[in-house]
Symmetry: C3
Subunit: 409 residues, 3 copies
């Protein structure tokens, strides 16, 4: 199968899949003056070996470590109890229900890296989530796991340790009792409506709320720094402070709002989302207190040149690459516009020479699906910055070219 | 199977099992004054994906990394050569033969966390262990792996790098040639005796001896700190020293004695152990030298309300949770008393404001076995301390409530 | 199978193997004066759980984390596209094509640790490699994966982030655009020649070139330190600098040349390689600039006493250990001579008291193959040093005895 090696019990109630993925990247930067920090490099962005499955018909699990990026992380480790489709419980380490693009697995996404809105959400977090699915009126509900894009309506609401923007390490857990509440409501409003063109349209909104108390943990380590998308170079650096500021902490309410939507029809695909992330920060030993309203949005369009269906997950080529049989796999073209706005209050705490206040990026990409398991990606992204250089100047335009050979089963 | 996906060769001589486990915890603290270090939190206490098996009929192995707790550890990695049941050899990383409760896998234990005696043993260690099993007179001996609770008599004796109390990282290996010797003798004295009530009674004694030489490694890192059981908050802190003391090292003999026993009969279970851990410590650049005799004991009782058999390993419900068939799984109730005494000499080296001299805890717990693979646990533990606060005061009582959803296959 | 649990699709185009390995070592040092840094110890040198396989007939992959040595590393994570045997592409993390002995898996090598030449190569690295195989004239070419010892001629040439000598962590990637080019040409000149005695003779040459720019990263961390072979004690320490030198960086060209050969015939085996690694180093804030020409060579011979075939990979015993049937497995004897010469320019930067200028080692070893999966190794190595002690003296002779119980499937 192209979804792992699968073992299923005779009665079908128990099954386990053994899976793996590898992503070998290469990035290089054009017009990059010598001596700059934009280093051409080979990255191993993902190396996962994982188990997922179902026991006793209603207990799903996923257990997925990642050995890529020169370190070992636990991406997912959750149990999902789903005796009732309308009220299932996911316990453990999981994706927080915020960014839409985050829901795409790394092997499903259209570009080698996600756009800016995803980086204003936390990534994975430990917690408990209640979620439910509902079929369109008169239709059956189908179990779809904690990430549900099959049914008419889906809700997710959970309590998590809480992580700052771009945080994946349970950033807020260490110093306070306050936990983060996050949730999403998602609809396929035209599912089974008979309006064929709109069957594949989905829209929703996600949000989160938490009140960290004087939490400096993840700022000092740089874990919450923001990066350019495809180039993956730091553009907002919470470790480079304004002169006189000795440390940053999250202190006070932090909320996010995420309207989001997609639309897939035949070979065409469209996806977009917006986020406002508003957090209270202190610095300068508590003497400075700011409200930082960062925002980001993106819109991306894609087209499968070889005619296969475009989807939120991955394109499945009609036939695997085999030139001797005249088979070449599937080819997809994509374009994306993405912007990040950093609140100007930020620069009461951070050095304006090291962090940008605005990033605007356009990208184009080609995806060649050799077969259901192997994909070759080639992306180009051009990013323009406001601020981020010495003496109030702008950080130089970043022109990043990246390729990825990706294998997943 | 509920013990992993199993692959066996046609002749039965070779088999491999692929297994996994996830533990999603939640802890919160009652009557916990604001600003305290007792943070309510979600923990991912275990996330394991492992292999175990047998080759050529007599070569067993286990290879078990753990991705939980925000880090990656190698729990077990050993080879067991057992051509003779009476003299088998285990080589590699393994549990040191000391605490009885440690022998229970995390997925077998009755409470979400082990009691104090376990924390005065080292955890896993690299070494070589000779072990053997003997059936009751007139009975066959059955191979039972390095952890043997099937036979009449079992011995284990091994040489290890050595680890300090609560040490899992081969603490003593780095600075001296001296290795730790540890062993256990275990009996089921009434096995096949005809006295039915005592068939499930087992008792034994374990001990260890090592002479570390001026080893400061694991004290400074806090790896040897002792914690409250279910709350998992530090209560003896080797990194908070008395004024004037600049560092601590283990220097001189360190021995432990561990009498231990259990008794299972139908739905009833009883387990207890005691430990004396005596180590020599130096501090203050060698000017202070103390003998620290710490001790701990625990006793726990449990009862399976739904009538299934109670065992040292795990309760197997008669039928999996399925309300539509009137099946609800198994329910177990448990209670535990546990104490830790820290030698008063300790406070010649450690700050008495940061480390307690005594901890006394009682706990009750409910375990709901939804099926052979999934268990929901809910525990409450109340711990009272002597010392550990400023000006000779007592650390406030800790009231910890914890739940765990656990999945293992 | 003795090569993992294998799953193959009905048409044979897809297959995955689940594999594992464990190495439990013990080392001790003879005539080692009390207080020395040569600590007797138990090591867990390897603990791997990995996947490898083939999809769509022409896409191979390997995904192999290692949990040994008290840390987690990603050893291999690559995809190999091999539609054409003469031009296949390996993308991701892989062995750099340099040292011959490095190509032997840890479970294939004849001694518990590799000899000096391997340590003057980098280990694994992220990059892209083109490679191809060619059968002897008139013979078919057989696909053999990125490490090919089956065919008449093989070439490999790749671009990698670059790693310093003994570097496994992409040492040069962080501070410069310059990448490392490395390659190997390998021949079995007498394959299918009819000269039976020389059928198993192979020879080749490997080389690398890179120009790091002021890269100090891996020197300061000690990652590039050189060690004695079987004893695994540091003998060239890049963190112990000459008085007045404040830091070391690689700056300028770094090239290596590696002639290498082996010869296997029946129970006899012979292997040897030489390396010159020439790198430019700066220290003393750039005021000192040296060219460091280090070299190493080794030759090893082995003989299978029980008559099985000797190979570059591993000896397969005729019958598994089972004394009751009079089967004892296979026994191999081996001897090795190995030398390392450190350029005297080195001591313009490093402290001569902490790093040796010359190491000469002889070793003998016995390997007892209990079966195709389990091996017990016992090695003794005697190493003599020039320099490396205070006041211009020589570091004391190192007499290391090591055993390993190794299991792989």
């Amino acid at each position: 199968s192209n979804k792992g090696i699968s073992f299923t019990s005779a009665d079908g109630d128990h099954s386990v899949r053994l899976r793996g993925s590898i992503q070998g990247d290469e990035r290089f930067f054009i017009d990059d003056p010598s001596g700059s920090a934009l280093n051409n490099r080979f990255d191993l962005r993902q190396a996962r070996l994982w188990l997922e499955g179902r026991f006793w018909k209603y207990n799903d699990f996923k257990l997925m470590p990642d050995f890529g990026n020169g370190k070992t992380l636990l991406a997912d480790a959750y149990i999902d109890l789903h005796y009732w489709n309308s009220a299932a419980l996911t316990v453990g380490r999981q994706k927080t229900p915020l960014s839409l693009e985050r829901l795409q697995g790394d092997t499903d996404g259209t570009f080698v890296e996600r756009a800016y809105p995803t980086y204003l959400a936390s990534n994975r977090d430990n917690g408990i989530k209640l979620h439910g699915s509902f079929g369109a009126p008169g239709q059956k509900t189908e179990y779809a796991g904690p990430i549900d894009f099959k049914n008419f309506a889906t809700y997710e609401v959970g309590v998590f340790n809480g992580g700052g923007d771009n945080g994946a390490e349970d950033s807020y857990k260490a110093v306070a009792d306050n936990k983060e509440v996050a949730g999403r409501l998602w609809l396929h409003p035209f599912q089974n409506s008979g309006i064929n063109a709109l069957e594949g349209f989905g829209a929703g909104v996600a949000a989160s709320y938490v009140q960290p108390q004087n939490d400096s943990l993840s700022f000092a380590s740089g874990a919450l720094n923001l990066k350019s998308a495809i180039g993956q170079n730091t553009i907002v650096d919470y470790t480079k402070l304004k002169t006189g500021v000795s440390g940053i902490a999250a202190d006070g309410e932090h909320y996010r709002i995420y309207p989001q939507a997609y639309w897939y029809k035949g070979p065409y695909g469209l996806m977009g989302e917006y986020v406002l992330s508003s957090q209270q920060l202190t610095g300068d030993a508590g003497r400075t207190h700011i409200k930082q309203d960062n925002s980001a949005w993106q819109i991306q369009a894609s087209y499968v040149l070889t005619g296969e269906n475009n989807t939120f997950q991955s394109v499945k080529p009609r036939a695997a690459f085999n030139p001797s049989k005249g088979q070449w796999g599937a080819l997809q073209f994509a374009a994306r516009w993405s912007e990040l706005s950093v609140d100007k209050n930020t620069f009461q705490l951070l050095s304006a020479s090291n962090s940008v206040s605005q990033a605007t990026a356009w990208a184009v990409g080609f995806n060649w699906y050799l077969n259901n398991n192997t994909r070759l990606m080639a992306d180009y992204e051009d990013t323009r910055f406001t601020g981020g250089a010495a003496s109030g100047g702008n950080r130089p335009e970043e022109k990043a070219f990246a390729t990825r050979l990706q294998f997943v089963f």
